[in-house]
Amino acid sequence: MSNLPLLSSLQMARFAARGFLRFDAAVPDDINGQFLAEAGQMGGAEDGRSLRRVYGEALAGNAIPEVAAGTPLEGAYAAGSAVARLLDLPLVRGTLKSLLGDAPVFDHHFLHVTFPPRYHAGGASVSQHTHQDSTIDPRTAFDVQLMYYPHDVTREMGGTRFIPGTHLRKVSEVAVGRYQNIRGQQHMVCAAGTLLFLHHGIWHGGGANLSERTRYMFKIRMHASGDQRRQWDVSDMTTPDRQRPIFYLKSTPTPDTVESILTTPEPWFEQDTGRLEYVNRIRLWRYLTGDPTYDADYWLTRLENDNRRV
């Protein structure tokens, strides 16, 4: 049994259903300050340089290293650096262990910098089109993207926009850019040190920064190196001996069960495909638990019943 603070089964179910876990102000201020110092200050484009050039020059000179894809996460960052200290926080280690298992592998990282309007030299501040990272990914296994907000983020600063529950849709990157607003979308308005752990498939985009302050967000993508099953604290796992009643109910079912979490719709769910979302969540839960017979509210049992048991 790990001594790390691992996720509970209900937290894992929420990640499976909604594709994210958020921890507010989880990183201490001294690490936040160190990170911002290591990221370096970025100026504007007042001297006629393009913002892309400003960013490139700052990136070349800052203390955040280049890291090769495929590097073991352990050791990817110099000991004592802000990112190494962040990754060593018990909450981060426990959450990554729960989601990815032992010895996660570094994929890539990126320092996202969103400049205020005065830095755009006459150009408009616009938000990033909604997209899914990387490319079409048909796996059930998933990577984790850790988003780190090293300073307070107000609504005016834009923040990351994401749509809970979109992570199981197999789309092609910014092909979803046509969708400007989706019911249930969330904007990261948060205190310094907030962490967002995302399933790689979640639809998201950076908001327009309409404030006076440059906004920073640091992202690390990681993947599992081995078994991704039952890596969280499974001591609270219960296996119902029978299915619960569905549809015709005389009282509201308790929300704090895996079954309730996996069958709770998002505000944007279409009426018919929302049910397919439940099916796909249950399949992900089967993958995570290693239990090919698990079901919630009969969604898969019904589909797998070919009458051989009659």
């Binding site: 938000s127 909604t130 849709r169 789309v171 400007q180 607003n181 327009a208 796909n280």
Partner: protein
Amino acid sequence: MAGTLRQKVLVLYLANSALDSPVIAWSTYDGTGQTRHMAGDEEEPPYRTGLAALEDGWRLFQASQLAPHTRGEEFDLAYLKYEFFFEQLAEAAP
């Protein structure tokens, strides 16, 4: 003057294929240049249903087709399914 008319486009994504079903997502593109819409700029849809947009004068010019489900891919989900394009013609700013 017809020469200054421009197209405003409203895209509504509905909860099912009926035009009077609820809006779950939406986008607006203003060809007059008077407003600029972008991802994440609104939290509430401009209309509760597609029918409400018709009642307010928007003209429907495209609706997504209903396609049969390919065997073996019945549970694969990707893009929003019930997409309706509306337009209005409006005077462009001089």
